[in-house]
Subunit: 316 residues, 2 copies
């Protein structure tokens, strides 16, 4: 059983929920309406040997990722993070000093993004480290949460930043940079985007562009065509592609853990987009069409490839 | 390192938090103020071999406990649960049918307590099952959240239900009942209590009465004296005590996972309490005095025993 299939089942089996649930499972965050106020919630976990390697990764980097991964979901809704809680399952062998380092780094990361860590639960056990973080968010004033389901035929598809190579260590500013650990969640960028244009649909790229854009296509009952020669490809993806002797677009489409935003908007609104926001490039990579058998087709030279299931699967 | 020490450190090290955090770590729930509205949040996790045994416990019981444990924290604040999200780390060997049973049972339990499960995250891994559930709550109209820190010298100490023997299987209504799995979270009872009297301090008994009442004593800068001959002792605790040849009060004070409420209130308010609410006995067990070296003393015959550290420790 794969993660995606299981999640899909859970979403499909979703029964009639309370009317207070304004956003059921199936988007980057769920939402509740309380006394007329929308509260967005996301939960995400990272585990040793699945999402990081405790033997080779500093506790500070692990702690940071536990928080920023959730903040990327907040960015995907164009929402404002307001607070976090963490459930930590710590290996009994972890020293008290290391546990403190881990919590201090989570707290500092959360504070840095104006998302205070204000609660938690700790269990000691004889198994690997697992951190499960829940982040609460609310809409920015005047900005409705952006869902996966609003893409329309004729929309332009864009991405932020550069894709691929998230596991590949590269040198940047004289230090080692590994994207899946060190990425910057696009919270502020998403807000600036949403203030400037009407975003029809948005997702953060965690599973890989192919699979995540397919989430938008399926939720919106549309299809997407994207172009290999328009993809912004990261230096790390190029480095990995050269080493593995594969085309760089293959890495950009499927590596996953990009934590960049993929969004769609009307063609007139796309004209208003600057080349970059906060120093992060904004790139048109394709367009939205009517629903089709293949949710996401990639044009490579004169061939079309179905990339709807191209993504990273931790469990396969 | 023990769980309690680690949590204590995390609470002690708590830096200046954002003014939106109205209840920092250290109570049964944390709280955030959003647009004038108080949101309470708790997170709790249960793990195979720590909080249950997957080999001998049905998935339905495990799923139920994952939700009800958090609802007990909501009860401890006398608040109203509004929604839940769950992060599940599933052993890769678990079948899709079993994963579905688990999620269906969590969803049904959550729905039963008017606390819809509206989001989640699933990871497959080669380690034991771990479920981490976050529950959001809000105050009932006109009822402020009850903290651990409000106990006053002269207060009466009460508990709901009967204590001890939470791990001991007993026969009840012609079926096997194991309290730590099958308990009823006291959400509605807490609301009825808070409507009738002014609760000064409250906690749910998860670590054991001795240790949990010590949490109230320390947070309130008071001490507590309780009486062994006034403790309501469960049939399961008596059964376990007879088998182990120990006094029944020893089981009632330290078994943990009672998920009953321990609260303090003024003596005049204590006069107003009925003998039971919703069929659950309410029992006076002692009183609050000024701060003292021993936060919680138990009177047994003519001896006083410090029971401040008597509780269940998963990790020792």
């Amino acid at each position: 059983m794969r993660e995606f299939e299981l999640l899909q089942h859970i979403y499909d089996a979703n029964p009639s929920l309370s009317p207070s649930v304004t956003l059921p499972p199936g988007d980057d965050m769920g939402a509740l309406r309380l006394s007329g106020h929308n509260i967005l919630v996301t939960v995400d976990q990272i585990a040793d040997q699945v999402h990081f390697d405790l033997k080779t990764t500093s506790l500070e980097r692990i702690a940071r990722k536990a928080i920023t991964r959730n903040l990327s979901d907040v960015a995907a809704m164009a929402a404002r993070p307001v607070g976090a809680v963490c459930a930590a399952a710590l290996p009994r062998s972890m020293s008290s000093v290391d546990a403190t380092r881990l919590f201090d780094a989570m707290r500092q990361t959360a504070q840095h993004y104006a998302c205070p860590l204000f609660g938690g639960d700790t269990t000691l056990w004889d198994n690997p480290l697992l951190l499960s973080v829940t982040v609460l968010a609310e809409p920015w004033p005047g900005i409705a949460p952006v869902l996966r389901s609003g893409a329309k035929p004729g929309d332009v598809v864009c991405v932020t930043g550069a894709l691929g190579g998230s596991l590949e260590p590269i040198q940047r500013d004289n230090r080692q940079y590994i994207h899946h650990l060190d990425f910057e969640p696009r919270v502020e960028l998403a807000r600036l985007l949403a203030e400037r244009v009407t975003l029809h649909a948005m997702i953060d790229i965690s599973d890989g562009l192919g699979r995540d854009l397919a989430h938008i296509a399926r939720a919106s009952h549309v299809s997407a065509s994207i172009f290999a020669n328009q993809l912004p490809i990261s230096p790390a993806a190029k480095q990995a592609a050269a080493r593995l002797n594969v085309p760089p677009w293959a890495r950009a489409i499927s590596d996953g853990e990009d934590y960049e935003l993929c969004f769609t908007l009307s063609s007139p609104d796309a004209q208003k987009l600057p080349e970059s926001i906060l120093g992060v490039p904004i790139t048109r990579i394709g367009q939205i069409g009517p629903a089709a058998i293949h949710p996401v087709l990639l044009q490579v030279d004169d061939k079309q490839i179905d990339v709807s299931d191209r993504g990273w699967e931790h469990s396969t």
